[in-house]
Amino acid sequence: MAEDPTAAMAKECKVRLKISDDTIFEVEYAVAMQSQMLKNALSDTGTDGTVPLHNISSEIMAKVVEYCAYHVNAANTISEKDVKIWDQEFLKDLDQATLFNLIMATQYMVIHNLQDLICQTVADRIKDKSAEEVREIFNIQNDLTPEEEEEIRHENQWAFEEEGWPEIQEEVRLEG
């Protein structure tokens, strides 16, 4: 299959991204296209200029580019199982602040697969944990009064109950 000209151009084109401390990241066109936001921005303006991304730091941008570059290469060449293993390694040992900033960056740049990966990883950490454990993991202060908390627990009683089919408490009388 003859290589189509746009694909060839894509390989050579570099996209310039200017981040919070005015550092310029140069990335391949295909890598930049992993971001819907960049895709839209560049389809209007072309690849000549520099795209400003003032709210993203160097550290975060480096991680984002690392992920996108890997996934562009992995698309048809690496098995799904190995990609999953790479993804887990990628996120291992990242502290909460970094994870949070990564989620913000992926939201801004609209990179769904990375956003889902990080959110799923964070969700797995709090799955099936008690409210107190979740507070510890996320370092959240309980700003609910005891009455408020009691009310919420009561509203969400179903979540605190044991699995099982409850006994019917009262008789249901049909009228008429």
Binding site: K14, D21, T23, I24, F25, E26, V27, E28, V31, S57, S58, E59, A62, V65, A69, D95, Q96, A97, T98, F100, N101, I103, M104, Q107, Q115, D116, C119, Q120, V122, A123, D124, I126, K127, D128, K129, S130, A131, V134, R135, F138, N139, I140, Q141, N142, D143, L144, E149, I152, R153, N156, W158, A159, F160, E163, G164, W165, P166
Partner: protein, 174 residues
């Protein structure tokens, strides 16, 4: 791939409770959780409660547990939203039916259970509407009788009674 990476000191001075403060990000995380965990998270803090009430989250939870794509149609989503929302649908109808399915050792929700829950959900909506109509009619009736009483014998009514009638009339229009 070329990239100019400047080594910058890590973001170690991050403020505490970063996840707790941002309701949007919490919603994005909660949508990956099962219903029970979301219910528990709602008790963690005010921000978590707000995120855990989000219809965006519950719509995704309901869609995930449903084997077919019935919850994915816009028409059904807007009907559910009008009739009380996905959270109510799950906690009051889907959850008990799920528990019953597990109790009877059935593997997962099937079409019939989904349809049953939607029917019960509709019945619940109309019952609530009927009830609120009844209460409004009852209070309108009281006001109407009160006004008739005042008109017929204004002297016999004390100031207090007149004042409370006026307050009731005002409440009707809020």
């Amino acid at each position: 791939m070329e990239s100019k990476v400047q080594k910058v000191a890590g973001n170690s001075h991050a403020s505490h409770a970063i996840f707790g403060n941002n309701v949007d990000i919490l919603e994005e995380i909660l949508k990956h959780l099962d219903a029970k965990s979301v219910g528990i998270v709602s008790c963690v803090s005010k921000g978590c409660q707000q995120a855990a009430e989000s219809e965006y989250v519950w719509k995704i939870i309901c869609t995930h547990i449903c084997p077919s794509s019935v919850f994915e149609t816009e028409r059904l989503q807007s009907r559910v939203a009008t009739m009380g929302g996905f959270k109510r649908l799950y906690t009051n109808f889907l959850h008990p039916l799920r528990s019953y399915s597990h109790h009877k050792h059935c593997s997962s929700l099937n079409e019939d259970v989904i349809r049953l829950s939607l029917s019960l959900f509709s019945v619940d909506y109309y019952e609530r509407r009927l009830e609120s109509l009844r209460t409004r009619n009852a209070s309108n009736f009281k006001i109407h009788s009160g006004i008739t009483a005042i008109d017929q014998s204004p002297d016999s009514c004390t100031d207090i009674v007149q004042k409370s009638m006026k307050e009731n009339r005002r409440a009707c229009f809020i």
